[in-house]
């Protein structure tokens, strides 16, 4: 008994952290381990088998991976997903930043406008995509016919070369508000006297944007880019509603391909795909952090 008491008191004297702080971590740690880490490890394990998700299975070594790398459809889905994500993340951040600048300046009906611009965030992706599907397939062609614009009369969703554009547009429309909110929060932290001082020195608006605003919110830009890019890489619902991967296979994202594994008995193969996807996503996040290390300011 006495030895236990003495060791604990010794630890306390060394300035050890109150154990209660660790207890606070336990629920999150347990949940994360049970719901994320363990299933992920199981998924990686199954990627080395020929499992169909249940029943008996055999180990097949790296067979799934070997097939995966020779599958043009898989390679195509990666190129499509990364390309569309890149374009979307740029569009979203540019639009969101300009909207945020507008909505933090002294304009009329600022609060009302902020509310309106945030609305797309409240609607679920699948509903947005069904509404836009109707607009692209019916409204736009009909309007184009009225205005005698032949190039818009065919739905862009039906054109394998253009359908990705619709996905970029709708994803951007949905993703701008959350990025905009973060930028608004960032912009209000910049003290006004910095602008006043620069104005006295003769800086005009573009210079203020490039030399003051952007450097001051660079940390927020980083957050928006990383979170946005990570989110767009796993795009699913908007594509399902708009094109369902079509026309042909021109808009199949990685997440859609992986998801087919659950109800088609291609479980192990798509687990291998998920593992590769995980590694790629991780690599992209690490690169983004490395590139921006030290440059970001919070």
């Amino acid at each position: 008994m006495s030895s236990v008491v003495s060791t604990t008191s010794k630890r306390r004297r060394r300035g050890r952290v109150e154990p209660m702080f660790y207890y606070f971590l336990v629920p999150a740690l347990v949940l994360f381990t049970l719901c994320i880490t363990v299933p992920a490890l199981m998924g990686i394990y199954y990627s080395f088998t020929d499992s169909i998700g249940f029943g008996e299975y055999n180990f097949v070594g790296l067979n799934n991976y070997a097939v995966l790398f020779s599958d043009p459809a898989i390679v195509k889905s990666y190129l499509f997903t990364i390309g569309v994500s890149l374009l979307t993340v740029i569009l979203v951040n540019v639009i969101a930043l300009f909207l945020a600048i507008g909505l933090t300046s002294q304009i009329k009906m600022r609060t009302a406008l902020r509310t309106i611009f945030v609305l797309p965030m409240v609607v679920s992706g699948i509903i947005i995509s069904f509404v836009f599907q109707f607009i692209f397939a019916n409204t736009v062609p009909a309007a184009a016919a009225n205005m005698h614009l032949p190039f818009l009369q065919e739905s862009i969703l039906a054109d394998p070369k253009l359908a990705w554009l619709a996905i970029v547009l709708v994803t951007t429309w949905q993703a701008v508000p959350s990025a905009m909110l973060i930028y608004i929060a960032a912009l209000v932290t910049i003290p006004n006297d910095v602008y006043e001082a620069s104005a006295l020195d003769g800086a005009h608006s573009p210079q203020q944007l490039m030399r003051i605003t952007l450097p001051m919110i660079s940390g927020y830009v980083l957050i928006n880019v990383i979170l946005g890019f990570k989110g767009f890489l796993s795009m699913y619902d908007i594509i399902v509603g708009l094109t369902n991967g079509g026309p042909g296979t021109s808009t199949r994202s990685v997440a859609m391909t992986i998801f087919t594994g659950f109800d088609t008995g291609d479980y192990a193969y798509q687990m291998a795909n998920s593992t590769i996807f995980f590694i790629i996503t991780l690599a992209i996040a690490l690169i983004q952090l490395r590139v921006s290390r030290g440059k970001a300011q919070f």
């Binding site: 029943g55 067979n63 739905s155 969703l157 296979t249 008995g265 193969y269």
Partner: protein, 426 residues
């Protein structure tokens, strides 16, 4: 001393509560175990007939008080097998995806029930067209759907057209309609599945022996390629070229039209022909009760004898190995396959019977197909014989929206081989 003494009454009260709760729980359990009959679940998720089966299950429960059956229409099938709690009796569409369950030995043997089920041999053959489990009868067919070309009889009469029995007659019909300014076919290409089950399946099934083709493709396993003796590139090219020729006679806005648009357009007489299955009949008739329509198999050769109907085992029954109540599930299965119950189901839901002594189909329009069904002039569609992991529907969509047939079929051959490689078929 004083502290512990003060807390004593509190402790004992809490213990009392715990004991009470435990007792109630135990009582609840025992009540459950002793009084009620074993509960079995019937998994059936075809949306159109869920109410029908709900009623069937409740009349079964009335007749069999020793068994309590419940109707499950919403669970995820793969997930329930993954959790090792599969339904006790399944009543589902039989396709390549379903065959996966039987191939891995997840479904129990029902061969002793075959005499009672009295399935027509030609229908039983359909089951064996997909990978089975050696030595077992894993599924018992329940209802069969027949699909072919819908045509608007009024439009055909107006232009003095007869139902075509050869491919060149069909082209002639299309030409006549075109010169009269009538859309021959209504396509809904924005919904890829409508192309796959419609024009793709009909054109391939009308030209080649689908079952034989897939048997040889499976036998090839990882050896399959676009150079092998059978391949998608070799065997499907001609039929699909003919089909693409037919697609010239479709509505101009086909690429942005969906299934629901198609039903409305056909019901309104906007096109003479429409490639859909019997499930669309109810909706078309609801849209236009005066609709005067018939059905014929799409002729793809110059021999009228080659005409065949696309069928699928719309419902088939099976009992998983993992079921805890196989005996009770078999009781329910026997109840469902009684001729008076099964025949009534098919009559009510536009299905063809699967028994050797089934009565003819009752729907006026589907009667056009009865002759073909009777002489077993039918096939299971190409789209249902390809594992869903290969996006066949999307491939057909690209072919019928201007993509290259050769390239698409070569991709399909590549996918087939890759699929065989990872299934370890060889």
């Amino acid at each position: 001393m004083g502290r512990s003494g003060a807390s004593l009454p509190l402790m004992s009260r809490r213990n009392l509560f715990q004991a009470g709760a435990l007792g109630a729980f135990a009582f609840g359990l025992s009540a459950c175990g002793s009084s009620s009959a074993p509960t079995i679940s019937l998994y059936q998720s075809k949306p159109e007939v869920i109410p029908y089966f709900r009623d069937l299950v409740s009349s079964f429960n009335t007749e069999h008080p020793a068994i309590h059956a419940i109707h499950d229409a919403t669970s995820s099938l793969s997930a329930s097998f993954a959790r090792a709690t599969p339904p006790d009796l399944g009543c589902l569409n039989y396709n390549f995806e379903m065959a996966r369950f039987q191939e891995r030995g997840e479904l129990s043997d029902l061969s002793d029930l075959l005499p009672e089920a009295n399935i027509a041999p030609s229908v039983l053959e359909l089951v064996d067209q997909y990978p089975t489990y050696p030595g077992r009868t894993s599924v018992i067919p329940y209802s069969m759907m027949g699909a072919a070309t819908f045509y608007n009889k009024d439009i055909f009469d107006q232009h003095g057209l007869d139902v075509p029995t050869t491919y060149s007659e069909l082209l002639g019909v299309c030409e006549k309609l075109k010169s009269a300014g009538v859309t021959a076919f209504y396509f809904t290409s924005a919904d890829a599945w409508t192309l796959a089950q419609g024009i793709a399946d009909y054109s391939i099934g009308g030209a080649i022996d689908v079952a034989d083709f897939f048997k040889r493709m499976r036998d090839l396993g990882t050896e399959a390629s676009n150079d092998s003796e059978v391949s998608f590139s070799k065997n499907l090219k001609k039929p699909l070229e003919k089909a693409v020729k037919l697609a010239e006679y479709t509505n101009a806005d086909a690429t942005s039209r969906k299934y629901a648009d198609g039903n409305v357009a056909f019901a309104n007489g906007e096109a003479a022909m429409y490639l859909q299955g019997p499930w669309a009949i109810t909706e078309i008739m609801a849209l236009n009760p005066k609709m005067n329509m018939g059905i014929f198999p799409l002729p793809m050769t110059e021999n009228p004898e080659d005409r065949k109907v696309r069928v699928n085992l719309d419902l088939a029954l099976w009992i998983p190995e993992g079921s805890q109540h196989k005996d009770e599930a078999r009781e329910l299965l026997k109840y469902l396959i009684q001729p008076e119950i099964a025949d009534k189901y098919n009559a009510t839901n536009n299905g063809f019977g699967v028994r050797a002594d089934s009565p003819a189909v009752s729907d006026e329009r589907l009667k056009d197909l009865q002759g073909f069904i009777d002489k077993a002039a039918f096939y299971q569609g190409t789209s249902t014989a390809i594992p869903k992991t290969i996006p066949f529907e999307n491939y057909m969509q690209s072919i019928f929206t201007g993509g290259s047939i050769e390239e698409t079929l070569a991709t399909l051959d590549g996918d087939w081989q890759r699929n065989a490689r990872r299934q370890g078929t060889n």
